[in-house]
């Protein structure tokens, strides 16, 4: 029984990690209907930035988190204004091409600056090790990840459902013309939410380096996972993404623990099944 609880906990933690790196994409793709396949690039650069901050200035991961969140929000805002804006939001194929191009550039750039080898981010000592709780060993870092997920989900939910910005965002996404007619600054709202998505992506990157590793190929390597979480969760629903991520994480980990030989299958098989049953994702926002 203890083994099962440990494994379940690990699954939830892994799912939390998936969510943390994908939540930014939930915001941009889910809320803004913009397919940003370069999302992983933001996560990757967030991770590299934290590594550089730790190496050059000895900044701990805790300190790096807000720096990266704000810094990349700014980068995202700039990128949206300068590049993404020019791509029509009604042509998903063009979005795919553009963002893949950006992903290639990001990979090349990271190789140029930091080389192709793996990088590690030192974890703050307080987050290492395991905690023995009720006969079960729980990793402290994983508990931290779960905590972060809860915090992010709740904050985003409040932001989107309970604030004015959130209401403006929802209106702008659903009916941009009507929204503009009501005086909502649609352009600024989009820039703002893209910034939010990018900042969250970078944040997720920092948190994920320890488990997922970091090298210039990060963007392409983990692209599948981001897409998985966002699409299965349902467009426009942050809670849906969290639920999808946890479900996928649990199945993946539990499967690998009990039957390692089919471990790799489960996450993909589950995704296919879930999408067949819920073609709009687990949760849908409105519509």
């Amino acid at each position: 029984m203890a083994a099962f609880i440990t494994v379940l906990f690990d699954g939830v933690a892994y799912g939390s990690l998936l969510f943390v790196i994908s939540v930014g994409m939930s915001v941009t793709m889910g809320l803004m209907r913009f397919i940003n396949l370069a999302h992983g690039a933001f996560a990757m650069f967030g991770g590299y930035t934290a590594c550089v901050l730790a190496q050059r200035w000895g900044l701990s991961m805790f300190a790096a988190l807000p720096v990266v969140l704000v810094g990349f929000a700014v980068v995202g805002a700039v990128l949206e204004r300068v590049v993404y804006r020019w791509v029509s939001k009604t042509r998903p194929l063009d979005q795919v091409l553009l963002t893949i191009g950006i992903a290639f550039i990001a990979t090349g750039l990271a190789t140029y600056i930091w080389g192709p080898y793996q990088r590690a981010l030192p974890l703050p000592a307080v987050l290492t090790g395991q905690l023995h709780v009720l006969g079960v060993d729980l990793g402290i870092y994983r508990m931290f990840l779960i905590g972060m997920v809860v915090a992010i989900t709740v904050s985003l939910h409040i932001l989107i459902e309970r604030t004015r910005f959130g209401a403006q965002l929802r209106a702008a996404v659903d009916q941009p013309d009507a929204g503009a007619g009501l005086g909502i600054p649609v352009d600024r709202v989009f820039t703002g939410s893209f910034a939010l998505g990018s900042g969250l992506a970078a944040l997720g990157g920092v948190l994920g380096v320890d488990v997922l590793g970091l090298d210039p190929n990060f963007t392409f390597h983990y692209m599948v996972y981001f897409l998985l979480v966002v699409v299965v969760g349902g467009q426009g629903s942050i809670v849906g993404s969290a639920a999808a991520a946890v479900a996928l994480g649990v199945f993946d980990v539990v499967g690998k623990y009990y039957v390692p030989s089919i471990g790799a299958f489960l996450i993909y098989a589950l995704m296919v099944v879930l999408l067949l049953v819920f073609p709009h994702g687990l949760f849908r926002r409105g519509r």
């Binding site: 690990d10 590690a120 997922l212 590793g213």
Partner: protein
């Protein structure tokens, strides 16, 4: 549009193409002998003279992965080649040595084969080298055979590679070669029950088979054999499973890079060492370059491999110095891949010298087959029957040497052939 018009159009096109093909086959033979027009993009900078008179350069075509998920492999191999060129110069037997570098852009074997074909047909290289991944080597093998070009494997480690062409010689290692002694050692050193965890592809299966055979022959019992998926970000579930099965030790093979770092982290994080489970692995898990990234979690781990940066010999010191001079301090520590490339170059230079610059492929292969010299890793030679590497495999333990993590050699298994054949 009527069917008749369509069919006649198709027939016309077909006839035209077949006619052109037949003409082309005839012309093509002529094109082989005459000098073809310089093609765009072959900016290798070679001013290669036509086939007949004396060539003034020895051309070496390097095929490896420089971008994509295995970009580090190409970089390490190239680093080793550059180190050799820095140390011994780029002239041998009065001829200049030119390295033509080609990127397979990732694990696409057909690209590796095409690059090998182009190097042989267009650039007329004397040697094909590199091949960091097994599929690259397997796909390119027929090219070496048909064009009679010696192919020097500098990294790929699956047993069957050297059987694919009589023109292949390998200077790296094979997984059975380094796994079997570990199984033998484990059975003799108090490990009764073991769990194995290998990556689910060729080298992993080779390692698992060789280790298990030696271990069970020594009286040990394998209680769990796990094969991890190819793209596996997180090892926690596998490691947890091992922890709960409570073996005496865990044997691991994963490719160097993200997988080795992740599996080591999982092992450390779950406290398996504290739970009394020893970690033994092939050296890929703790390659010299990745040790710094893994950190102190690696201390005390026993591995078997053919090369350690801590190997105490004048050849190794010279190699490390040359590597640093050629690649700069920011390239970091070389690892076994660079040594494979370095030794491959040493062998080529030796062959070129002995043939006085006139590369006859069959004579070259004879020389390769009887090659023996002292490498930075220790003494190596080639087995004339299999054209595969024969070398000393070391049992090492990770310790801190002058503040840096190193795999310190504590035992030797000299003159091992590849048991996988």
């Amino acid at each position: 549009m009527s069917h008749r018009v369509l069919v006649s159009a198709l027939l016309r096109v077909a006839f035209a193409t077949v006619a052109l093909a037949l003409a082309g086959a005839a012309c093509g033979k002529k094109a082989d002998e005459s000098r073809p027009a310089p093609a765009p993009g072959s900016g290798s900078g070679s001013a290669a003279a036509p086939a007949t008179p004396e060539k003034t350069t020895i051309k070496i075509g390097m095929v490896a992965s420089f971008s994509g998920p295995f970009a580090d492999v190409g970089k390490q191999l190239h680093g080793g080649i550059k180190a050799y060129l820095k140390q011994y110069g780029d002239t041998v037997a009065g001829k200049k040595v030119e390295i033509l570098v080609r990127d397979t852009t990732g694990p696409a074997a057909e690209v590796a084969k095409r690059l090998a074909q182009e190097l042989v047909v267009q650039d007329k290289v004397d040697f094909l080298v590199g091949f960091g991944l097994t599929p690259e080597a397997l796909a390119a093998a027929p090219v070496a055979t048909e064009s009679k070009t010696p192919m020097v494997i500098m990294n790929a480690a699956t047993s069957i590679i050297t059987t694919k062409s009589p023109y292949i010689v390998r200077f790296s290692l094979t997984l059975p070669q380094v796994s079997a002694p570990l199984g033998d050692w484990a059975a003799k050193n108090g490990i009764k029950k073991i769990a194995t965890m290998v990556a689910d592809y060729g080298p992993g299966h080779d390692a698992e088979a060789a280790f298990t055979k030696a271990f069970t022959a020594g009286g040990g019992e394998v209680i769990d054999a796990i094969r991890t998926p190819l793209a596996n970000p997180d090892f926690s579930s596998f490691i947890q499973r091992v922890k709960d099965k409570k073996p005496d030790a865990l044997f691991v093979f994963v490719p160097a890079g993200q997988q080795s770092i992740a599996s080591m982290k999982a092992f450390d994080e779950r406290g398996l060492a504290k739970a009394g489970i020893k970690l033994i692995a092939t050296g890929d898990m703790l390659d010299d370059h990745g040790l710094a990234t893994i950190g102190d979690a690696a201390l005390g781990v026993i591995t078997t491999h053919h090369y350690s940066v801590a190997h105490d010999s004048p050849e190794n010191k010279a190699f490390l110095q040359a590597y640093r001079d050629a690649n700069g301090a920011e390239a970091g520590t070389p690892n076994f891949m660079s040594v494979g490339a370095y030794d491959g170059m040493a062998a080529i230079y030796d062959v070129v010298k002995k043939l006085d610059g006139k590369i006859d492929p069959d004579k070259a292969m004879e020389l390769f087959k009887h090659m023996a010299f002292t490498s930075p890793r220790g003494p190596i030679s080639i087995d004339p029957e299999t054209r595969d590497i024969v070398q000393t495999v070391y049992l090492r333990k990770v310790e801190k040497v002058n503040g840096e993590l190193r795999s310190v050699e504590i035992q030797q298994f000299p003159n091992l052939k590849d048991p996988g054949k």
